[in-house]
Symmetry: C2
Subunit: 320 residues, 2 copies
């Protein structure tokens, strides 16, 4: 019998989550049934979108249930197999994060060679990136933003990134070669800062933040600009709905296209993206930052740091 510690949602957060919204519990796993495997997770991810699933509201994925382990991306190793297609030692990815180990039918996991499709792929489809476009990326040093910046730079675009703090600004400028970087925590007026960074205006905005960032992007948008709406982290913890962009009427006259997307709707791009990615990676052209926290019991803490920007790049929890 295997024991596994898991993090459960104890109560629904109101506004910014606190440690009290989570509880750690220990469960015992039986041997996997036929067709199932038992997996020990090596890594799990915490991501801003999980905040939405903590509310009891209809969204593109169901709310987390109270008193049960949450879900999220994880990578682990098969330790017991009840399916002839899997053997102990195989690496799998699944949506059974927030726990040290789990049993699942093999249809619920993927062998690790089928890598997931990251949101940055959509820079190319949703934003319809064209030659000469000036690209603005918010949360530019983050897991998604840093890849978006690099893809845009590799394709020859002028890129403006926003991030909070001197370390992130330096990483973007010196390591990723982002053309102009705005420290949104340091500038008095984000709109003016973007005007100064892109006096010619922007054609593409990759939106991870919302709020003032979206207003600044609307203000600087050139005609026919395209906004890929990947997330709006600044609004996830609001207890009363925050005002939307006061200048949204600019979208009419400037003929701006704003389009939300979630990854699962675009799996058809997977192969083409992997091809590009593999080529760039082999050439040593991709860099990224990770912040690693160790131990399942610290998963809530890792999650909370996303909202204060204490992570630098992808936030991961190491479980083994």
């Amino acid at each position: 019998m295997t024991t596994s510690r898991e993090v459960r949602l104890k109560s629904r957060p109101v506004g910014l989550p606190t440690a009290d919204n989570f509880e750690l519990a220990t469960v015992t796993l039986p041997a996997p049934a036929a067709g199932e495997i038992q997996v020990r997770n090596d890594w799990m991810t915490v991501d801003p979108y999980m905040r939405g699933r903590m509310n009891d509201a209809k969204s593109y994925s169901a709310p987390f249930a109270l008193g049960e382990a949450m879900h999220g991306g994880a990578v682990g190793t098969v330790i017991v197999s009840g399916d002839e297609g899997f053997k102990p030692g195989d690496l799998v990815q699944s949506n059974y994060g927030w726990r040290e180990a789990f049993n699942a039918h093999t249809s619920m996991v993927q062998k690790i060679d089928t890598m997931g499709l990251p949101p940055q792929t959509f820079l190319l489809r949703v934003a319809g990136l064209k030659e000469g476009d000036v690209v603005f990326v918010s949360a530019a040093s983050g897991a998604v933003g840093s890849m978006v910046c690099q893809i845009a730079k590799l394709k020859g675009h002028k890129v403006i990134g926003s991030a909070g703090g001197a370390d992130k600004v330096r990483f973007l400028k010196e390591e990723l070669g982002v053309d102009e970087v705005i420290d949104y925590k340091a500038v008095p007026d984000l709109m003016k800062a973007l005007e100064a960074a892109a006096p010619e205006g922007i054609d593409v905005y990759f939106e991870n933040v919302g709020g003032e960032h979206l207003e600044a992007a609307l203000n600087s948008a050139r005609p026919f600009a395209r906004f890929a709406l990947c997330g709006m982290i600044s609004m996830y913890n609001a207890t009363t709905p925050p005002p939307g962009p006061r200048n949204i009427a600019l979208a009419v006259g400037k003929q701006i296209r704003m389009e939300g997307f979630i990854v699962s709707s675009h799996y058809d791009l997977l192969q083409a993206f992997h091809h590009d990615l593999a080529e760039w990676h082999a050439a040593g052209k991709l860099k990224w930052k990770e912040t690693v926290v160790e131990g399942i019991e610290r998963a809530p803490e890792a999650f909370l740091k996303l909202f204060s920007g204490e992570n630098f790049g992808k936030m991961l929890v190491k479980l083994t």
Copy 2:
């Protein structure tokens, strides 16, 4: 020598325009030069977009100059011709509204058989109307909205319209066959009213109003909904920028596409649209309302009525 009365912009309105922002002046027109024609306007239009041109701000068209006659759509009759391609009695349309008569080079006018392309055409392109889509139209009894409603009905869609006042509601329900009509001036909560009118949600929103209407549409949008942003009249007179939609983050998870458009970017659709329109018109399937005010001196009054909703359908000024 021909005299013409014209309406000039005397001062830039702050917030809602008043009669004091305009002045009537009389000018004398010389005989037209070679290549020019002299036209007496029969009709002119006043439209909400003109409010934007009264500000001294960069937009898709230049601001009106102070102390000069404004511009806008007009239809008139050639009275003197200095060009062999035009003869007295020919009907022409031009952008020389807000005046009784004018001289212009013939390259600046169109003979009337080349009808303009109305914004409602874009229901088909920008909104990407698909079979089974539920369509929501704001300012549904207006010049643009009433055509959008009818096109959507002719194509077999469920249509929900919003308008202000019992007469407009009756017209939409009884004459245009709109399925559900919301009297936005009478309902206590527009968001709830739209939820009740379209419990299944909406797939397409044709935006003429902004503000609460846009919030209600985001709230009721189904996944992959498409919003054609034609105008946001509720925001044109704001002196401090009004808050945008508080629920704009819904656009991410619902993967909504919002796209602004102006007519001149889509002239390639002209022929296809004329074909449909001619067929429907010949079959007696199109209805519209007009509100007519007589005399150039009442053009400012006609314009101001657009913002209180005192027009019913297309607002026109009869000049002859």
